[in-house]
């Protein structure tokens, strides 16, 4: 279908990093079933490096492709760098998303941030709350 770029379709058809990490160091879940998309990201972190990332997604083609691409982009990266990942970077890596699908890339960014926050919380690492999304300001379900 011409709706999506070849890269989106490739990541949708052959998603990378699908699955669950048992004993993950950080887990982040965003979205809700009522809106039609939920993304859950699991991280394994060793020292300061994301050694593995996996995802489960309930959602449309671009939600699955965004999860796949975003997990690829942070695997092997230092935590500080993964925190800088923007939805815009995910969209660029996917060679674009249709305007009404941009929120899928936002979900991917937020799921990763929440997983990293979960990692900080579990390990008692101090952080600046401002850099993480919260339910109040996520805008999911209002920005489709």
């Amino acid at each position: 279908m011409a709706l999506y770029s070849d890269i989106v379709m490739d990541h949708f058809r052959n998603p990378r990093n699908v699955g669950v990490i048992e004993n993950a160091d950080g887990v982040g879940e965003v979205g809700n079933a009522k809106c039609g998309d939920i993304m859950k990201i699991y991280l394994k972190i060793d020292g300061d490096t994301i050694t593995d990332a996996k995802f489960e997604t309930f959602g449309c083609g671009s939600a699955i492709a965004s999860s796949s691409m975003a997990t690829e982009m942070i695997k092997g990266q230092p935590v500080a760098q993964a925190l800088q990942l923007t939805n815009k970077a995910v969209v660029e890596a996917l060679d674009g998303l249709p305007a009404h699908k941009i929120h899928c890339s936002v979900l991917a960014e937020e799921a990763i941030k929440l997983a990293l926050k979960d990692y900080y919380d579990r390990h008692g690492i101090a952080y600046d709350k401002q850099q993480f999304p919260s339910c109040e300001n996520c805008g999911h379900c209002h920005t489709h």
Binding site: M9, G19, A33, C35, D37, T57, F58, G59, G61, H100
Partner: protein, 396 residues
């Protein structure tokens, strides 16, 4: 295997209709309104097509108004009937919650203009009853509009009974029969129908052409002002090639209807039985009162757009009522109207079969949909929660 299972969206144009259209374009290019012989030949062809279509609906040729399709016919019927009602001091309209948007959005506009709209709820099986309609009628009701067959879930409404209720009460009755014409018995006289909308491309005719049946004696303000075409009821030079193609396609559909229905119903029911074997899946709409080619399901734990894309990769053209495919925030209003909650409505799939659907294709559809649903569930966090008991199943 390539399977076109989206006949409710549109159908392949009939080769006989295409031939008739091309011949018309080549040979009968005159304007039916012109006095000269080229125009008169076109006028004769137009009259012939009109008479042939009228025969299939059991109406008179003069009772047909050609339109650009089903949406225009719906708009004309509703806007016209509303104005007529307002002139009589009647500004109440009865319809249903699961009409096509061509009806619902027109009603929304009328509501803004001061009309009161009663949208009847539909039961879980996707049916309204004549009793519901009767109970909703008021002294100021000017119009009842109930679709003949629903485009998403295929349920067939008791049109003749509803028509009888309206006729008895002296209220105009319109039916959006876009999904029914060519597929179900239509007899505007026996079914007490005052106005009926149809669209050619749903029965292997061309796109961009349809008709409104308007019972003799009824006069509505035209939606499109201009010349005196269609007896002053719809301006604009007639799309003669498309109208001729529509007549050919409708006659073909009528000629094969009995045999198609007899062949399709067992295929449809086999597909329904096959997909019902998928755990936590539910058929949308009544199993019996439904179009011969319509199969509509909700699968818990997955989203419809990803299902459609993967099915397309496997050669299957289908459709869904998920929000992602509807281009809006909410999933299909039809699925919500029959009581499906958002979570489940997002995981909907419509397979609409046609004349050339084979049993081999049905087997492939069952196998492929089953496998694809299982795959998408395997990567869905919702399905995981349903499975491990942290989220309750909605579809048992």
């Amino acid at each position: 295997m390539q399977i076109y299972a989206d006949h409710a969206a549109t159908t392949k144009t009939s080769p006989a209709a295409i031939d008739a259209m091309v011949t018309t374009m080549r040979e009968t290019y005159g304007n039916p309104s012109s006095l000269h012989s080229a125009g008169q030949r076109a006028a004769e062809l137009l009259a012939d097509a009109r008479a042939r279509i009228a025969r299939q609906l059991n109406c008179e040729a003069s009772e047909l108004i050609f339109t650009s399709g089903g949406s225009e016919a719906d708009n004309q019927a509703l806007m016209g009937a509303a104005r007529r009602g307002a002139a009589q001091g009647k500004k109440h309209i009865v319809s249903t919650a699961f009409e096509h948007h061509a009806v619902l959005h027109t009603l929304r506009r009328l509501e803004k203009e001061g009309f009161e709209i009663t949208l009847l709820p539909v039961y879980e099986n996707g049916l309204v009853t004549a009793e519901q309609v009767r109970a909703a009628l008021r002294p100021d009701t000017c119009l009842v509009s109930v679709m003949y067959a629903n485009n998403e879930i295929g349920t067939i409404q008791p049109i003749a009974e509803i028509g009888a209720v309206c006729r008895e009460a002296g209220v105009l009755f319109h039916t959006d029969a876009v999904q029914a014409v060519g597929h179900l018995e239509v007899d505007v006289k026996a079914q007490n129908i005052d106005m009926l909308s149809l669209s050619a491309h749903k029965f292997h005719g061309p796109k961009g052409v349809g008709a409104l049946y308007l019972r003799k004696g009824l006069r509505l303000d035209p939606l499109i002002e201009g010349g005196a075409q269609e007896r002053g009821r719809r301006a604009g030079t007639e799309n003669l090639p498309a109208i001729v193609g529509m007549a050919v396609a409708l006659e073909e559909a009528a000629a094969h209807r009995a045999e198609n229905t007899a062949r399709l119903i067992p295929l449809r029911d086999k597909l329904i039985a096959g997909l019902s074997a998928i755990p936590h899946a539910a058929l949308n709409g009544d199993a019996v009162q439904r179009l011969p080619g319509n199969v509509s399901f909700c699968f818990e734990g997955i989203e419809g757009e990803s299902l459609l894309l993967l099915l397309d990769d496997r050669g299957i053209c289908a459709s869904s009522g998920s929000a992602c495919t509807s281009g809006s925030l909410d999933p299909s209003h039809v699925l919500l109207a029959i009581g499906r909650v958002h979570d489940v409505a997002h995981g909907s799939l419509r397979l609409s079969l046609g004349e050339d659907t084979t049993e081999e294709q049905i087997d492939y559809l069952i196998r492929t949909v089953t496998d694809t649903v299982a795959y998408l569930r395997s990567i869905s966090p919702v399905w995981r929660e349903l499975q491990n008991g942290t989220r309750p199943y909605i579809i048992q």
